[in-house]
């Protein structure tokens, strides 16, 4: 059995019994990458030399009996918009093709302190703008289940790498669905925590009122342990929530008796692939068998979520990306006549089409005379969308629906049509606007491509989300399926 198919407990036991070493785990990771990454193209930058060195240090700690964290020794991949000291962090943009961070993101540091090994940096849509990885300025990551299809995005490299067995788990970021949707397309687990639960210090900002970091894993138990390692208040991040962090693994009881599930009719209506709908209905039946109840509800403002999201996220992005001016870091245009010309040329040469499009949309929505009509209006509709969820959660414990309306689409199929591409996010965006936690777990297959079940919870109630996902997982086999590579 390949080491990454072992559970966390099994890996931990084998490390302690000296049946396995961290060096062997790291070696298995790079071997698998050598075998599969020519096809999958998940990694932008590998961290091989440093990782192998770190593995030796960790094996020494292990021999000295200093390996207590359940994640100890695990090879992990990190999305390329999370900074890693001394290791290129490009955001899949030409603008940052030479950017070598001088500090670690809080999540990078926390994972290192837990004893994990950073294997390398994973491909994404440029600056996390996109849902297919086709907006990477380097190359398109492929779906391990069918390499003609997209892995989803923007955390496409993070999802494909875990699905292809290259790393034990990975980190991604989610602004409108960028962890959950690629997890669904690649047949793995992806958790977007509550806004503020995980520090964004060192995450290159896209839309600051929405961005959140979370884990992509093979199963729910790994997600619980990975979240445990990265959650918590951070004085370096002023929007970081100061809440007490529960023990997430303890919530995995397998018991969902009496759980009250809401199923929004808007998530199963027009535009949802019937094969996706069937898989969701089968999952609800499974929950009934396990003692939960479900009822159809309405989230009436769902149809306004995408317009709201693209106005807010693009506006925030146009402001956040103003920092990329070629002064302090990044690739500076060499043919500039003066300072303003240097800003213009550096940005125009460094950014890809989707990034420019969103900066343009956001700048327009924030510009004099249009602020009230677009940005402020969208902020008000966001309140209505948030209230939809609050009302449902008065009577229900979780909300269940699909993660994405269809399985992974073909590479190139939607490239020329940004609006259609945006509609793929209809089930994940409202959740991001409300700031609440959600997980995607595998719940079926359609023509060889995975389908994701989305479980949405109350703010800071990751425990119920994880418990519900875990109960489904231990009573089904979908998470055990692997692509043949």
């Amino acid at each position: 059995m390949a080491p990454f198919d072992l559970s966390l407990q099994e890996v931990g036991a084998k490390l302690r019994n000296k049946e396995l070493s961290v060096a062997e785990l790291v070696d298995a990771s790079y071997k698998r990458i050598a075998q599969t990454d020519e096809q999958i193209k998940a990694f932008i930058t590998l961290n091989e030399e440093a990782a192998r060195k770190q593995a030796i240090e960790l094996d020494n700690q292990l021999a000295a009996g200093q390996a207590s964290n359940p994640l100890f020794g695990l090879p992990v991949g990190i999305k390329d918009n999370i900074v890693t000291e001394g290791l290129l962090t490009t955001c899949a943009s030409q603008f940052l093709s030479n950017y070598n961070p001088i500090y670690d993101a809080t999540v990078t540091r926390k994972l290192r302190e837990a004893g994990t090994v950073n294997i390398g940096k994973l491909n994404m849509d440029e600056f996390a703008m996109g849902g297919s990885n086709e907006n990477s300025s380097y190359f398109v990551t492929r779906n391990p289940w069918n390499t003609e299809h997209v892995p989803g995005g923007s955390s496409g490299g993070s999802a494909a790498s875990v699905a292809a067995g290259q790393v034990y788990f990975s980190l991604g970021s989610d602004t409108g669905g960028s962890i959950r949707q690629p997890a669904a397309y690649c047949g793995i687990v992806g958790l977007k925590p509550t806004y503020g639960l995980v520090s964004r210090f060192g995450l290159v900002a896209f839309a600051s009122s929405l961005d959140q970091i979370g884990p992509l894993t093979k199963n729910v138990e790994d997600a619980a342990y990975a979240l445990q390692a990265i959650a918590g208040h951070d004085p370096n991040e002023s929007t970081s929530a100061n809440v007490s962090i529960p023990n997430y693994a303890e919530s995995l009881t397998g018991d969902v008796k009496g759980l009250r599930i809401a199923v929004p009719k808007e998530y199963l209506g027009e535009g949802i692939d019937p094969r996706v709908k069937d898989a969701i209905m089968a999952a609800l039946k499974k929950y009934e068998e396990l003692g939960a109840t479900w009822e159809e509800v309405s989230l009436p403002h769902t149809e306004y979520a995408i317009a709201t999201y693209y106005l807010l996220a693009s506006s925030e992005a146009s402001s956040n990306l103003a920092r990329f001016d070629g002064v302090r870091y990044g690739v500076r245009a060499t043919d500039a006549e003066n300072l303003i010309d240097m800003y213009r040329k550096s940005r125009s040469q460094g950014f890809g089409a989707e990034v420019k499009r969103r900066i343009m949309l956001g700048t327009y929505a924030l510009s004099s005379g249009y602020y009230d009509a677009y940005y402020l209006k969208a902020q008000k509709v966001r309140t209505l969308i948030k209230q939809d969820f609050e009302k449902v959660f008065e009577k229900f414990d979780i909300i269940v629906g699909p993660t994405a309306p269809t399985p992974a689409f073909k590479i190139g199929e939607q490239v020329g049509d940004p609006l259609t591409m945006y509609l793929n996010d209809i089930c994940t965006i409202p959740v991001s606007l409300a700031g609440i936690p959600a997980i995607s777990i595998p719940c079926g297959m359609a023509d060889g491509l995975p389908i994701g079940l989305q479980i949405i919870g109350k703010a800071f109630d990751e425990s119920t989300v994880l418990r519900s996902a875990h109960a489904f997982e231990i009573n089904t086999e979908f998470h055990k399926q692997r692509p043949s590579l």
Binding site: I102, V327, R328, Y329, R347, S348, K356, M360
Partner: protein
């Protein structure tokens, strides 16, 4: 509301982007389509709805005003495209 190539040029200037003629045309069409879609929000009366700027309100996050070590200059300059005398160098600001 529909936007023209002239609007696109104005916004590009605000955003410090230099667009090619074909980019200008492409963005005019695409931004019009996206903004037309966004007009959907006008179906909703939001006169008495408060805007949400963050999912959860956090007010006045402060810390004690204590000096802490900053990043060392030589590290900060590692990524600077051009520098001189411990300062980042840029092209002429004034003609």
């Amino acid at each position: 509301m529909s936007i023209s190539i002239k609007d696109v040029e104005h916004v590009a200037n605000l955003a410090r982007l230099e667009l090619t003629e074909s980019e200008k045309e492409q963005f005019t069409g695409q931004l019009n389509a996206i903004l037309k879609y966004a007009e959907k929000l006008n179906e909703l009366n939001t006169d008495h709805i408060a805007p949400t700027s963050h999912a959860f309100e956090i007010n006045n996050v402060t810390r004690e005003d204590i000096t802490k070590p900053s990043l060392p200059i030589e590290k900060v300059l590692l990524n600077a495209p051009d520098d001189e005398d411990d300062q980042i160098k840029v092209p002429a600001v004034l003609e």
